[in-house]
Symmetry: C2
Subunit: 337 residues, 2 copies
């Protein structure tokens, strides 16, 4: 019989400001025998994502808050080690949302079987082939309505979503792609590896000045992963008819007060701008189109990606805390083995 | 020969903060003989509008700033008193954008001949039959995408645009229409004359609390004429998928600092909201549809309107200053006679 001890990380307190290790606990659960229709999966990689911080709060949102005392949910990929379902066989690779645990046992309907692709790690299903890159794709094409020749600005550009936004923008005909990130190493990666036309370190000085220098003719699309002063800088740089896809606001997630918004909101009127927020869960109908595009780009070497891998299921909360501090380049995942 | 002395009001200084009478001057200009293709029009009504404050600044915008030392442009309606054009005849009623003057002489191409409607004052072409009501129509239907059953909140609801937004929302199937205004008299007018389901005086207490009481199940559409804390209250009251049409920000127009934006911008992401700014000049293609709807509503008595009339072309700047202070109910116009 397959292993039956599942190590799981649970949320035990709602973080106030920056989350800490004390907000989580790791428990071991002995799994019962499989019920009919269930499968048991040994996860290989578990995802940690910025959006998870928002769901740790008890706030009105599309997604319900995480329950206290329950195992954190979220993306994960693993291999079936036991099955009492005709739909899924032992050995299948499956993607699911059962989250922060090494062994998961649930009804087969909660798992999606995916192919193994030679040369592509299974963790790609959490990033470049998964919800992370879908987020970039939907935000850029559906929410911001990217048009050929647009100048695109992406904040948090060296993150899992940002690196995809920059590459998809280029592949879909953007005229110029600019990114901001928080270290010289990340900035170098943006232009040298990810094909950004220009990039800057937001810690190096005035955001508005750095953005104006990188986009002297203004920006048409802004993909916001950061919020706060980044959004204000984008509003100041927008051309008439500019469009912002608001995806994340990592600069605000761990703030204990309610920080004031941009001082230049009136530009939204005078320049005819549009700001639209989204959470990718409401746009999964675009997955087939995304998947077709992305598989082709990957096969042709037109899209590259980085992963920051943290080892050990016990370290999942630690990995998440590092993500909050920007310790990742590209997608951050936990390797269970 | 027709009268040839034109009294005109010009912008002579860019206001800093609240505009004052010293920012304007009134001059008298002797018109030359008509050149071929020109017409001379005696204005009956001249429009003063909140958007004009924005164009008095020297700022990047869809519309160019007003030139200093030049006569203010803007909507006006009058009667042709001399014509050297085959397109326009003496006695025709015309609408145009030549602005703050009693007599105007320009090429016929700048004038649009409109019918006289029994029982409807010519000033209606500046309000309920003109750009003002088109602004409400476009903002509500095209920008905010009003859907049947939506709960709609309008700020500055007793103004020229706001009174139209409330009525058009109701006629186009809104489930509930709520307005805010700045006096008890205006609030009473909203529910008693304009068919709002509920209304409140924003000076009476917490905007968020008053809005929550008026819309206990949240709002779906916000039509913003005010900006600032009104926008923040709307962001706090939005249901998932809410849509804001940002039309004006009169609370900010005369601010000398750059006031901070809403403290709850992150709701845009978590609730999947959309904020879109617009200036009606970019949506004139909707005029025929608007005109057909509005003519029918007026003929059937389904739309009512107020005007605040200031007498004397010499008082145009004074009228505008009064508009900035909210001294109008409905459309404010200057009667030249």
């Amino acid at each position: 019989m397959a292993s039956s001890i599942s190590t799981q990380t649970q949320l035990v307190a709602r973080p106030v400001g920056w989350p800490t290790a004390a907000d989580f606990r790791t428990v071991q659960v002995t799994l019962p025998d499989l019920a009919p229709g269930q499968v048991r999966v040994a996860n290989e990689f578990v995802s940690v994502d910025p959006y998870m911080r928002g769901r740790m709060n008890d706030a009105k949102s599309y997604a319900a808050p995480y329950a206290l005392g329950a195992t954190m949910t979220g993306g994960a990929v693993g291999r079936v080690i036991a099955s009492a379902s005709d739909a899924v066989a032992v050995g299948d690779v499956v993607v699911h949302q059962h989250g922060w645990r090494d062994l998961v046992q649930e009804d087969a309907s909660g798992f999606r079987v995916v192919p193994e692709i030679p040369g592509v790690p299974l963790s790609a299903y959490l990033g470049v082939l998964g919800m992370t890159a879908l987020t970039a794709y939907v935000g850029l094409l559906e929410i911001a309505g990217l048009k050929e020749g647009d100048t695109v600005f992406v904040s948090g550009a060296a993150g899992a979503v940002g690196t995809m936004v920059g590459q998809i923008a280029r592949l879909k005909g953007a005229g110029r792609v600019i990114g901001s990130a928080g270290s010289a190493e990340k900035v170098a990666l943006l232009t040298e590896k990810y094909g950004f036309d220009d990039a800057f370190n937001y810690k190096d000085g005035s955001l508005a000045n750095q953005l104006a220098a990188a986009a002297p003719e203004g920006i048409d699309v802004y993909f916001d992963n950061v919020g706060g002063d980044h959004l204000e800088a984008a509003l100041g740089a927008f051309n008439n008819g500019g469009r912002a896809a608001l995806c994340g606001a990592i600069s605000l997630y761990n703030s204990t007060d309610a920080p004031a918004g941009p001082r230049n909101m009136s530009n939204i009127i005078t320049r005819g701008l549009s700001l639209k927020g989204f959470t990718v869960g409401n746009y999964v109908q675009h997955f087939p189109a995304f998947s077709a595009d992305m598989s082709g780009w990957l096969a042709n070497g037109e899209v590259v990606f980085d992963e920051t891998v943290v080892d050990g299921i016990d370290n999942t909360a630690r990995a998440f805390l590092g993500l909050m501090r920007g310790e990742n380049t590209g997608k951050m995942v936990v390797r269970t083995a």
